[in-house]
């Protein structure tokens, strides 16, 4: 393996890691605040890409990428809040809410995926790259769009961190996650905070979908495979710690790129699963997780 190949493997690993980080952070955010796992997260990604395509792409309504992204983000926040209201809130007080939420969000995933199929059909669509062209990086060349992904993902996550850290509502979201009863006693509107967390998480997924939508073809199943990867990332990093999740995302992305190069596409899932199992055998709450 020469230097050039090593660098291109490294770069593709970082691109993957960035996308996984966006996805898995959303999952983790919902997990920490509501204590449930959202299986519709992958399909949120799909819907985000489709809406951006519909509004922005030339084959859609052709209103340009900026409008596409803006509308998609707004729609996803709304969809996230709505999902929380229908899929989670009615069951929050039940002792088996974790299981019920798996079932309801899984059903919602099926519902939305088939809705996407009805609305947009099964034909492949693609978003144009946000920026055209290629950039020479180190000794290889990658597309500008991929450079954009590498840059934008950390920025987005930084913005999320800043919101959670410094905004009143942001710290309230973190607070609710840690102690629901004290949050109530301080006068927080817990249901609204839950909705908001869900909306934010959906927007993150949608954004990841838009970024992915110009690398891969957009189909109703676009989000399924990234969901599974995000799932592995979440387990690997330990649910509930945002830092751990982001770190794990890049680790898994790199691991995937390396394994694809050396072992090939076919056995890469097995490698990832194997790594995940080994981590769980040693640390049942994930690599960075807390008990």
């Amino acid at each position: 393996m020469d230097i050039g190949t090593a660098q291109s493997v490294l770069l593709s690993g970082i691109v993957l890691g960035s996308l996984y980080a966006l996805m898995a952070t959303g999952l983790s955010l919902i997990w920490t605040t509501l204590g449930i796992f959202n299986f519709a997260h992958g399909v949120f990604m799909t819907i985000g890409a489709f809406i951006a395509w519909q509004i922005g792409a030339d084959l859609g309504w052709g209103m340009g990428p900026a409008a596409g992204i803006a509308v998609a983000m707004a729609a996803l926040i709304g969809l996230g809040c709505l999902s929380e209201f229908i899929l989670v809130r009615p069951f929050l007080r039940r002792p088996d809410v974790v299981l019920v939420a798996v079932i309801t969000t899984l059903s919602a995933a099926i519902f939305l995926e088939n809705s996407a199929l009805l609305v947009w059909g099964g034909r492949y669509k693609q978003l144009p790259p946000l920026i055209e062209g290629k950039v020479g990086m180190l000794s290889t060349a990658i597309s500008t769009h991929e450079v954009l992904i590498i840059a934008v993902a950390p920025l987005t996550l930084f913005a999320l961190w800043a919101f959670l850290k410094f905004a009143r509502t942001g710290s309230a979201i973190r607070a609710v996650a840690q102690n629901r009863e004290s949050a109530l006693l301080m006068g927080m509107n817990v249901p609204v905070l839950y909705s908001l967390a869900f909306g934010l998480s959906a927007a993150l997924a949608g954004f990841a979908g838009i970024l992915l939508g110009s690398i891969r073809f957009i189909t109703p199943g676009l989000g399924n495979e990234p969901l599974v990867k995000a799932l592995i990332v979440a387990i690997f990093g330990g649910l509930g710690s945002l830092g751990g999740t982001i770190g794990a995302a890049y680790v898994i992305g790199l691991m995937e790129a390396i394994s694809m190069f050396f072992i090939g596409l076919y056995w890469t899932p097995a490698v990832l699963f194997g790594v995940m199992i080994s981590v769980l055998l040693v640390r049942p709450t994930g690599l960075f997780g807390k008990r």
Partner: protein, 239 residues
Amino acid sequence: MAEPILDVREVSVGYGKTQVLWDISLTVPEDQRIGLFGPNGHGKTTLLRTISGLLRPWSGEVHLRGERIDKALPRAIVDRGIVQVPQGNVLFPELTVAENLRLGAYCRRARPRLADNLARVYDLFPRLKERRRQQAKTLSGGERQMLAIGAGLMGEPTMLMLDEPTLGLAPKLKDELLEAIGDIAGSGVPLMLVEQDLEFLLALTDRLYMINHGVVALDLDASESFDHDQIIQMYFGKE
């Protein structure tokens, strides 16, 4: 006579099928500080949780300055100035001391004077100021208790309910806390204090209720001398 601040009328409540409080009535008059004590698991915390809206009474009513609040949401009750400092004393363990305190002023009524109140709390508990950038979970037991009370004060209470603030504290810390709570009470905030430590209660309150088996078993005036042996008998008497 002036209307009482808080009026609890024949409240019954419990969890699931288990009833904890049986037709409890008590009032908090304008100028009095109330103490609740009694063996554990007999309903003191449950009473506080009912007043602050975390629990819906099965029957009975709760009135705050003449207004009925037993059907209101917790945040509506906080907005009316009843602030409960819960037992167990860890608020948001992963947040810093300063963040915890700021969130104490989350309700709309308390927001405008956040900075003033923060200064006041730091004044009252200088130790919190020193540790304002630390995560709450790194605090000692006494500091956590101060943080919980401080966050309660940030909500500008018109009535403060403290649930066992001395739980697990060493005697020296208890004295410090006694002084601080005394200051708070002295500044005119009505107080409802749940405590195991009788000395603590007697020093801080005007009227004591002993809650035993979900009813008010004793009703004492703190200024009068009373029969210690009767209480000790209830705690330590053989069956």
